[in-house]
Every structure is written in structure tokens, then in C-alpha cells.
Subunit: 278 residues, 2 copies
């Protein structure tokens, strides 16, 4: 692999550039993005050259789409008949089924969907980190093509823990582990925002800060994620509402032990070293 093109030089895209450079990749890293993002990417060394998408598609062995979900789908449409069979296209979008469908537009180039379970509270190439993917789960959803060995070795080299599953399995899973927690946090903060209760903004502990951190996320980041996983997310919300109703009954009966026990055991499992992502 001689030339990698990163489309969308934000936190994920720039971190991917820094990570492959750190792991020994010595070829060109083209950055296709807005002018400020490209400048930040050049300044941090995440990319070696600015490029247009036309230039990227003619030169790159790997095109890494690190845009928001809706933009990735647009780019795949644009790449359609232009991307060459020698160029692997992959993406880092937060949902996979809609993106895999959009990738059907690629007439010649192979495509492998991807989703690195990595992030930060701060955005942009300025916050990029060469170790962002280290020891984090990185889902791949190979579809028409198996994962090419050189791409897989690149992910291994940057320390990612690769898991393969179908796009449908991925979306059903992240609906529960990522999209539902986001909405649960947003709903909690929205409820409190509507309270006149004196003291709500003063009388709280670190628990409320934990539970409202995700709620800081802007709608612009989430609207296309949720729109492309709506059925799974609605199902998750319905199940969660059901669990809340059961919890309310348990509270009325002073019978919370089993609930708390199951919840604590699951939460502890997430934190076992094997599963640790943070």
C-alpha cells in the first residue's frame, strides 16, 4: 500500500492518519476535507498532502471515509463508477446497513464497512491522537468482498481489536450499546432542563455529570446516525420503557435487589480487562 486518502480530516480521520504513520506507514497520506481541516491535518502530520476527491480516486490504494454518515453515503454515490478496482474503499461511519446499501453504487472498487469504537469529547483534527484506536474494538462488516490482508494488517498495526460481523448485526448491537444510551442521556438532561425545581442546578453529585455527558453531543452529529438506524433504535426505546415500568413496579414493592444485582453484574462485566475500551 503506497497511498492512502482520508476523506474527512476530523478527529477520526486525522487520528487514522497519525496512527498509520506511527505504525510505520511511509507512503503518501492524502487529505480530502475543508480547508481548515486540511490545514490542521497538515500541521499535525496526520496527512502529507491536500487533495481533491478526483485526485484521491486516481492515486489512492485505500480511501478511508471518515465523514458523518450522510456525507459518507453521498461520497459513495460520487465514487460510483469512478473508483478503480485497485482501490479499497472503507468507512468509519457509526451505522453500517445504510452505508453498505449506498456502497452498491461502487461499480468496480471493493468496499469493506468499518466502525472504530473510539472517540473523544473534543472534535476535529486538532484533537487527533495516534493511539485513538489502540485496544479499542474496530468492527468490520465485509459484504461482497473479504477483508483484504493489507488493510487488516494496517488495523492490527494501529492496535485496533478487529471484530467482523454483518452490517445488520452491527446496527442492532450499537442501537443498544451506543444509540440508546445517547437518547437516555439526552432525555434525562431535557427533563431537567424543563424543571423549575429550585436547586436542580446546584444540588447534584458526580453521578448526574456522568449521566449527562453524552447529552452534550450536538444533534448535527446524531441526526444521520439515528435516521439510518431508526427501527432498531425505536425497538430499543420501547424495550427500555418496558424495563423502566418493571423497575417502577419493583420500587413500589420494595423489591429492587434482583434488578440492582443484574445491572451491577452486567456493568462490572463491561469493565473486565478483556472488555475494557476506555
Amino acid at each position: 500500500m503506497q497511498t492512502v486518502a482520508i476523506v474527512g480530516v476530523g478527529l477520526i480521520g486525522a487520528s487514522f492518519g497519525l496512527a498509520i504513520r506511527k505504525s510505520g506507514f511511509s507512503g503518501h497520506i492524502l487529505g480530502v476535507s475543508s480547508r481548515p481541516a486540511v490545514e490542521a491535518g497538515l500541521a499535525t502530520g496526520a496527512i502529507s498532502d491536500a487533495a481533491t476527491l478526483e485526485e484521491a480516486v486516481s492515486k489512492a490504494d485505500l480511501i478511508y471515509l471518515a465523514q458523518p454518515v450522510d456525507r459518507i453515503m453521498e461520497t459513495l454515490g460520487w465514487l460510483g463508477a469512478k473508483a478503480r478496482p485497485e482501490t479499497l474503499i472503507t468507512d468509519a461511519g457509526s451505522t453500517k446497513s445504510a452505508i453498505v446499501s449506498a456502497a452498491a453504487a461502487l461499480q468496480y472498487a471493493p468496499f469493506v464497512g468499518g466502525h472504530p469504537m473510539a472517540g473523544k469529547e473534543t472534535r476535529g483534527a486538532q484533537s487527533a491522537d495516534a493511539d485513538l484506536f489502540r485496544n479499542r474494538t474496530y468492527v468490520l462488516t465485509p459484504h461482497l468482498h473479504p477483508v483484504p490482508g493489507n488493510f487488516r494488517r494496517l488495523l492490527d498495526a494501529i492496535g485496533a481489536k478487529v471484530i467482523e460481523m454483518t452490517a445488520e448485526e452491527h446496527d442492532a448491537t450499537v442501537a443498544l450499546t451506543s444509540h440508546l444510551p445517547q437518547l437516555v442521556s439526552t432525555a434525562l438532561a431535557a427533563l431537567m432542563a424543563g424543571q423549575n425545581q429550585p436547586g436542580v442546578k446546584d444540588v447534584f453529585g458526580s453521578g448526574l455529570l456522568d449521566m449527562t455527558r453524552l447529552a452534550l453531543s450536538p444533534a448535527e452529529l446524531w441526526s444521520s446516525i439515528l435516521a439510518t438506524n431508526k427501527a432498531n433504535v425505536i425497538q430499543g426505546l420501547d424495550r427500555y420503557t418496558q424495563v423502566l415500568a418493571e423497575l417502577k413496579q419493583a420500587l413500589l414493592m420494595d423489591d429492587l435487589d434482583a434488578f440492582f444485582g443484574r445491572a451491577a453484574e452486567f456493568s462490572a462485566t463491561l469493565r473486565k480487562p478483556n472488555y475494557k475500551t476506555k
Copy 2:
């Protein structure tokens, strides 16, 4: 103030002992607790002497009840006719109305309810911290008696930010800022514990860890808190369920901007330096 007795030498009780010592209190600090807790308190310097409740009630100028809510109510019943008018009784329980009612048993001693909004993930005197209360909100619920000046100065000296409100206001507020977030986290973890979905324990990011940290809390810590604030908590759960239903409708309509905007604004407000507790 010459002698302080701490009843319940766990994280909060032992931290109170360390904090007043650090702030210059040079009198006796009696510890009334289980043998291992007393030994840990003596080892860390949080208390200067072990004592029985009988000894504490005959010697202390201030009795600081740092037990679980149900145990505080039992201790108040026991103190009933025994506590002298010269001894201020206060507590650090997580709910206040039930405790204030139980404090009616005190025939001679003045009582001021309290709730330090401070904690840690680890429990016990071993985890005690002289700065646990520094810059944290400390709610007082004076009832029949105003807050004595020497107790107020003690709280100021350990860096606590004292807010006075009624027990009812306190309980309505923490139902939203503490008890509801706990149940929201427990319900989320309980839902996931019940999933067969492959990958739920592997494919997640730091958001799920945030949202399930509270769910690690054991039922034994929460059962008496929730039992003594049940009406407020049920009302909070009902309102939250309503907000989730509204959020579901907004998702179906692809109209999440206002929801996310309100939630993000509230969450940012909590994090302004004035409100910062962590």
C-alpha cells in the same frame, strides 16, 4: 467545640473526621462503628478514639450520623431521650424528610439535617479523603433550630458550599438529580443484561461506560434511600417515561434538534465553574 462523635465510620464519616482535623480542629474525634471501621478510622487518623454510642452521647458536643438512611433513623430513635440539650445532632443521609421525622424523637437535643453531595466509587474509611467536601454542595435542612454558628463554621472550614433548604425541597430535588439518574442507569444495564444480541459486551464505547457506572451501586446502598423518597422518585420516573415518549415521536419525525439543543444546554450549565462539583 471540644468533642465530635462520628457514628458510622465509612467513607463519609471518616472523610468528615479527616477534614475537620485538617482544618484545625484539635479536640477528640470519637468513632462509633463496627470494629473494622473503627480500626481503619484510627489508622488513618479520621478518629482519635473508639467509643460506644453511650459514651458519645455523654461526651460529644456534636454527633455526626454518617450511616445509611435506615440506620440513621434507628440511631435517632435510640438517642431520643438520652441526647443532652448541649449536643447538636446532625446527619449525612441521602434523604431528609423521613430523617427529620425520625428526629422528632429527640426530646432535648437540637437537630439539623444535612446531605453532603460528595462521594466516591470506593467505600469505607480506607478511601476517606480530607478534601472530599471541598467545593462540593452541602445541603442543610434546619427545621426547629437554626444552624448553630460553630457547626456552620466547621462546614465552611472544610470547604463545603452550604445551601439551606427544607427537607421537602431537598428530597424533591435529589429525586431528579440523584435518584432518577441512578434508576435510569440501573434500568439501562438491566436491559442489556437481558440481551442475547451477540457483541453487546464487545461493541461499545466510552459512552456506555459512563451510562452504567451508577449501575455498579449495590441495592443495599439504595434500598433505604429510595424507600424514603418513593413518591418523588415515582413522579420522576413517570415524567422521564413521558419525555422518552416525546423523544420517540421526535425521532420518528426526524425532528430531534430542539431536544438535543435543550439537553446540551442544560448539561453545559451543570459544567460551568460555579456549578462544578467534580
